[in-house]
């Protein structure tokens, strides 16, 4: 067997990831991350679904005093459109339905004649509110605790980390149930703040670990030599460098928050005034055999929300983590190699 020696015109070394480097040449770190995120199909789909759900939930029944385009309010008791309150929404005929229709009660009505579409939308608004508030509160607290513990180490670290250990002792749903029972009557916003106040622990640990390694880096020394205060170093120099961890984990935490709130409300320790998807499922559970639509819709919206946030979180993790490189399939690799070989051949001929 003879081995062909490569023609001398070819550059000797081809960096292993030449294709990838070419892809990101001349881009800043932020641009690379944004690009990776925007190319993540799952994350984009998730983002689109969240946006659609939020748009639907907010415009349909309106927010606060502002009315929406939907004709029924969540707590109105209307006469039944269909007997038993079955949904008026129809599938197109080619899917086996009675023709495409939306009707006066697309998701059906409950035994009191309340419109399930409006109620589901209100529950979704609650879920969205809880998700955003829990996310922001726990992101702020987690960042603050993790940053202080990691930056100052020593006694501060000990105190803050023992506090974290204390909260982790109990499963979140247990603490959540006690706190929910305490403040559930005060409305979803307060409940979300309180839940956020106990769900920052994982984030704090991660931020602390990040800070422990960041504080040894040269740019922190440089900032200190230039006379920056501790606060400025933490906020301006270190937190931006730890942002990847914060963003990814907050996103995943938001998905967990949606489910936590629904679970608490289902158990009766969550939202007591107003509508929550979990509470709807709990209220209508017994009616599964007679009125299954009461049960399906709120559940589907919880899953859609949690699933799409999880996908966004996954996309963010892939975007921020430099080790996560998507390896092309064998077929694509072979094709790329072939293309390169042809180019080389052209170059040498």
């Amino acid at each position: 067997m003879t081995v062909e020696t490569p023609p001398s015109g070819i550059p000797e070394e081809r960096s292993e990831n030449a294709i990838e480097l070419k892809d990101v040449a001349g881009l800043s770190q932020g641009q690379i991350i944004r690009r990776r995120f925007l190319r993540h199909r799952g994350a984009m789909a998730g983002l689109a679904v969240i946006a659609l759900i939020a748009l639907l939930a907010i415009t349909s029944i309106g927010v606060g005093p502002v009315p929406g385009w939907w004709k029924h309010a969540p707590s109105d008791q209307n006469p039944l459109v269909n007997p038993q309150g079955t949904p008026t929404m129809g599938l197109p005929t080619w899917l086996g339905g009675d023709g495409l229709a939306f009707g006066d009660a697309p998701f059906g009505q409950d035994e009191l004649g309340r419109d399930i579409f409006a109620r589901t939308m209100q529950g979704t608004q609650t879920s969205l509110l809880v998700m955003i508030v829990v996310g922001s509160v726990s992101a702020l607290l987690g960042m603050a605790v993790g940053a202080l513990a990691g930056f100052y180490r020593g006694a501060t670290d000990q105190v803050l980390m023992r506090l974290t250990d204390l909260i982790i002792t109990f499963p979140l749903i247990v603490i959540g149930a006690v706190l929910g029972k305490m403040v559930g009557a005060a409305g979803p916003f307060i409940l979300a703040v309180v839940l956020g106040a106990v769900s920052w622990t994982t984030l704090a640990r991660l931020v602390r670990a990040e800070f422990l390694s960041l504080r040894e880096r040269e740019f922190v020394d440089a900032a200190r030599v230039a006379g920056a205060s501790d606060f400025r170093i933490i906020v301006k120099h270190m937190i931006p460098n730890a942002m990847g961890v914060v963003i990814v984990n907050t996103t995943l935490l938001m998905a967990a928050a949606v489910i936590l709130e629904a679970s608490l409300s289902y158990l009766g320790f969550g939202i007591q005034t107003g509508t929550s998807l979990g509470k709807m499922i709990s209220d209508y559970e017994q009616a599964f055999n007679t009125r299954p639509w009461l049960f399906w819709w709120p559940g589907l919206f919880v899953i859609a929300l949690a699933l799409s946030i999880n996908f966004v979180g996954d996309g963010l993790r892939d975007a921020f983590d430099p080790r996560q490189k998507k390896i092309p399939s064998a077929r694509k690799m072979a094709r790329a190699a072939g293309r390169m070989a042809r180019q080389d051949a052209k170059a040498t001929s």
């Binding site: 499963p171 149930a177 559940g299 949690a306 999880n310």
Partner: protein, 513 residues
């Protein structure tokens, strides 16, 4: 090491103390023991409020009441616990807890074991086929499982796996499209998991489709769902299959001695089929006897392995013992299935074997085999619910840690020195991939024990979670505090065990004294 233990114990006691103080205060604020009296409009309501306030000592500061509770709880150290009582019925908390702990353990043990075995297996396969269709599919499935609200799934399971399935059992007619779906689905999943070149995939697809078709036809033709049972032939076929499978994983099929040893074990299982049936006929079975026989089977397996001997007789013995356990399990399952008819036709079951609520059929006691079936019928749905949730996280963990391990230099070394792929995966990668799991599992179990609140509540299992949710709902503090105390202690122990495991399994980690 002693220093380390002492310090650990000190901090643990502190954590438990502080967490109970905090929780006592929080729970005290959260609950309102007078709730039912406040809306009371009958005459004399104020007297009743005053009487209950005096009984529960509600006028004294919460911290004093905590100290009172603590002094009772601290007597646990000298063996006479006083954790208060449910003041409405007078039942002591200790009594409530002891029942609840066994119930929860029963539920959580099976679920955790299943979730770990399945999750780790699927996770490792997914890591070995990184970026394949199987891997992406699994990622998607685990995201979906993460996003499912437990209570919603549980209600659906109740509806479709219990009520509808019981209806179906009355007249089992499987539609043809269901057969097609199962056959194609199984074949696709197996094909994706095995991977390889296009020709190999096609071959695997064909074989898997044929096997699942055969299974479906067997189930159909023998009315397996109504009168399940394995029979001596099926025990033989499955036993030989297990012998091949386990040998392939444990030592590789090229090790002929191991293969022959495990085949001998399978043959022994077939030979003992009728003797064991006679044994059950004359002996009243119970869990100790069953477990003892299982142990005996392992010992017999070891003996068979040693008898085949060879240069590395303990490897052979290990393979044979590993085969003996599932073969013995087959005999057990076969005997259990033969009671199915009696169970389903029992007056208390009335043809609805899958139960939706509680731990046992009330008043049902018809001997070991029927009781075991009853237990399984009740365990099925809550276990499935718990497995669905834990499975996702275990498969993600084991996938991540396997990928991490597969990138290590010692794996490259192992491949470079010409070890077979099986040895590299099972010996070098698999064992090391389990190390991070060892620190996750204890903590996870505790979370399950404490956090099966929703599952227990929906399926009405009177375990720890049910106890907590129920008494929080009814504003009774003592049982809640008893529950929280147990959970706090368990959490501390679990963290300790996790650290210990980690230190034992990974020699690079030293216990800092």
């Amino acid at each position: 090491m002693l220093m380390f233990l002492a310090r650990r114990l000190m901090t643990s006691v502190l954590v438990v103390l502080v967490s109970t103080v905090v929780m006592y205060v929080l729970v005290d604020i959260a609950i309102d023991p007078l709730e039912d009296l406040r809306t009371d409009t009958r005459p004399g309501a104020e007297d009743r409020i005053a009487a209950r306030t005096a009984m529960l000592d509600l006028d004294s500061p919460v911290l004093l009441r905590y100290l009172d509770w603590l002094s009772g709880a601290s007597r646990c150290l000298i063996g006479s616990c006083d954790l208060g009582r449910d003041w409405r019925t007078g039942t002591p908390t200790t009594e409530l807890l002891s029942g609840a702990v066994t119930t929860t353990l029963q539920l959580v043990t099976v679920a955790t074991l299943l979730a770990i075995v399945l999750g780790v297996f699927v996770g490792i396969v997914s890591a070995l086929r990184q970026y394949s269709g199987f891997d992406y599919g699994l990622t998607f499935v685990s995201f979906v499982l993460y996003s499912l609200p437990t209570f919603w799934v549980a209600v659906l399971l109740k509806q479709f796996l219990a009520i509808k399935f019981n209806d179906f059992l009355a007249d089992p007619q499987i539609a043809w499209w269901f057969h097609a779906l199962v056959v194609l689905g199984t074949a696709t999943v197996v094909m994706a998991a095995v991977g390889g070149s296009a020709a190999r995939r096609l071959r695997v697809f064909g074989v898997a489709a044929l096997v699942s078709l055969a299974v479906m036809l067997y189930v159909d033709l023998t009315d397996f769902l109504v009168t399940p049972g394995l029979g001596i032939v099926l025990v033989g076929v499955l036993g030989v299959g297990m012998a091949f499978g386990i040998t392939a994983l444990s030592t590789g099929l090229s090790d002929r001695r191991s293969l022959y040893a495990s085949l001998t074990v399978a043959a022994l299982g077939v030979a003992l089929y009728y003797p064991v049936l006679y044994l059950w006929y004359y002996v009243d079975a119970s869990w100790p006897i069953v477990l003892g026989l299982g142990l005996l089977a392992v010992l017999v397996g070891l003996g068979v392995g040693l008898a085949w001997g060879g240069p590395d007789r303990w490897t052979v013995a290990r393979t044979a013992a590993l085969t003996a356990l599932p073969v013995a399990g087959l005999l057990f399952v076969d005997r259990l299935m033969s009671s199915w008819d009696n169970y389903v036709d029992h007056g208390l079951i009335r043809g609805r074997p899958i139960s939706t609520a509680s731990r046992r059929t009330p008043g049902f006691d018809s001997g070991f085999w029927l009781n075991t079936l009853d237990l399984f019928g009740h365990l099925l749905l809550p276990t499935l619910t718990l497995v669905l949730i834990s499975f996702a996280s275990y498969s993600r963990y084991s996938r991540a840690s396997t990928l991490e391990v597969l990138g290590q230099d010692y794996i490259r070394t192992a491949r470079a020195k010409g070890l077979t792929e099986r040895t590299v995966i099972m010996r070098h990668a698999f064992r090391n991939a389990l190390i991070p799991l060892a620190s996750i599992v204890p903590v996870d179990i505790i979370t399950l024990v404490g956090g099966a609140v929703i599952t227990e509540r929906i399926f009405n299992w009177r375990g720890m979670g049910w106890l907590f949710a129920n008494y929080l709902d009814q504003n009774v503090i003592d049982p809640i505090m008893g529950y929280l105390l147990v959970i706090a202690i368990l959490a501390v122990v679990a963290n300790f065990v996790a650290d210990l495991f980690y230190a034992v399994l990974d020699p690079r980690i030293r216990v800092a004294a």
